[in-house]
Symmetry: C2
Subunit: 324 residues, 2 copies
């Protein structure tokens, strides 16, 4: 471990927010030593509760997360918030505005907020978010709130890795939003109908109930529906109670470690995939990949056989590969 | 090559739509022999022009694609359409309805339509779509139209792999849609403002122009804005002309093979990643991955070192790895 990382680690563990910011940037940008840093942080992690919150654009996620954070701060919990919006890589303005609002609201160092709008190319945002959550966890934050715009598979992958997943819906959205809702239906431990004072709240509730009758859960838990008006702070206590009830259910049924194990199965494979890809890239000399791609584009070479050939050369015989 | 694949291949090449459907299913579901089938098909591919079309939910993509297909059919081109909507894995109803509508409309065997709503877990929808496009290409379709809901990175990856990318916008959408638009701004070769008879069309056009002044293209092409009312067939001819103009620009500038080479670079890495991951999975004995994940979840083992260890054992020394 470099001296720089040692200092960073010790400052991080003592609660220095600047060290936290630096550690997160190191991990997010895959700066030199990022893996070593994560290795060092890992033994200090595992204590934080992670809560994932997702919903369609305009569902009021930021406001809800803001209110929930305020609630937990009253209970003296320290908070880390990761706000992920991969749909807006260029117009970071909206997110930035949100974050500035929140940071003004919380001059409190007990709340640390990090926005991530970067779209991973082949790596993946889910993995980076999980790594950043681990940093916040290891830095001693009691609660890590992960907020995503629920529009695609990436976002589903992100919140699925939390201990508790909250899906936020709002009344009065069209049919297309219904299809988005369907995609994240199965991952909800708790539903929130936000802006419940708007027309159509009952219809949304009926739709959730209708979908629930089709959903299959193996853990004896029926996701409750919590009604909120986040902008007025209404229903936040009930949401916190619902989260606590689910956590208690998980503990009673021994589901916490089961869920974390399942999540680590997914993550280990993702990490392995990234590691192998990185090494695969490294085997290409400058311009070699582009030359091979040109040969394929010109139909001089079949890509399927080519990939098998490259992979075959990279991998040892299966006999030597056994792990144990 | 199995006898089954041989028959399939010969029927496919002779234009049998049932063979086409079977070949696509084989590739989509990764049924036994799918890679061998692709290897056989590859030499027959490369002749089709692929056009990717994407836009927010409700932008009228299906109707536009429908009209464009009708237009190309009048010119005696054969068409394959791939309609991808990864946001609706459960409520396939809407898509199915669309497709039934289109299939009724086109009793013509010169148009083949395939819906894909499956969300890939670790594999990836972009790759499957590209493989299916290759099947349509090898089956002799002149044009392959790929239609996606523009909501996330997956969809961007999908249409980016086409020869021409069309981004469809509509007037009167809120700010959240603007952020989605920004995400796909850079991939548009042609913009369509559909439903141009609705209020706000000029504002959308102004916004596109505003964004264009910031965009950096290296290919001397300013994406034109085509105005359509797809439901009435208005502007379809202009869209086809814009597509033809871009294709002609690409040919003149020698950009076709450049773009295909760039696309193959991305695809080769993705295929390599999938191949390596598959082999990584295969190295785990039953329950082994889950056991390792449990050890990580219980903090008995650090996942970062673990992954390096597994990858290290899988890979040969770099000396043996050189490709050439």
């Amino acid at each position: 471990l470099s001296q720089q990382n040692k200092t960073l680690l010790s400052n991080l563990r003592s609660g220095d927010p600047r060290a936290l910011a630096r550690a997160i940037s190191t991990v997010e940008n895959h700066s030199p030593g990022w893996i070593d840093l994560l290795k060092e942080l890992f033994p200090h992690s595992g204590k934080a509760r992670t809560i994932g919150l997702t919903g369609a654009p305009g569902a009021g996620k930021s406001t809800l997360v803001d209110q929930l954070a305020t609630h937990y701060r009253k209970q003296k919990h320290t908070i880390g918030i990761i706000a992920v919006d991969p749909t807006s890589p260029y117009t970071g303005g909206a997110i930035l505005g949100d974050r500035i609002r929140m940071q003004q609201h919380f001059s409190d160092p007990g709340i640390y907020i990090r926005s991530m709008a970067t779209r991973g190319s082949l790596g993946g945002l889910a993995r980076t978010t999980a790594d950043v959550a681990l940093v916040l966890d290891a830095a001693g934050r009691d609660l890590v709130l992960i907020e995503t715009v629920g529009v695609g598979q990436d976002e589903i992958d992100i919140v699925r890795l939390a201990d508790v997943t909250v899906v936020i819906l709002v009344p009065g959205m069209g049919d297309d939003v219904q299809t988005i809702k369907a995609g994240i239906m199965e991952i909800a431990d708790i539903f929130v109908i936000n802006k419940v004072d708007h027309d159509g709240a009952e219809r949304v509730e009926r739709e959730i109930r209708g979908m629930q009758s089709l959903a299959m859960r193996t853990d004896q838990w029926t996701p409750p529906i919590v009604k909120t008006v986040a902008s007025e702070g209404r229903g936040i206590l009930e949401l916190a109670d619902a989260i606590a009830a689910y956590e208690s259910h998980q503990q009673k049924q021994g589901l916490v470690s089961q869920r974390r194990t399942q999540n680590w199965e997914v993550r280990l494979l993702e990490m392995l995939r990234d590691n192998l890809l990185q090494q695969a890239r490294a085997t290409f000399t400058d311009g070699e990949l582009s030359e091979l791609a040109a040969q394929v584009a010109e139909h001089k070479r079949d890509p399927y056989s080519l990939v098998e050939e490259i992979a075959g050369r990279m991998l040892q015989s299966s006999a030597e590969r056994r792990l144990k």
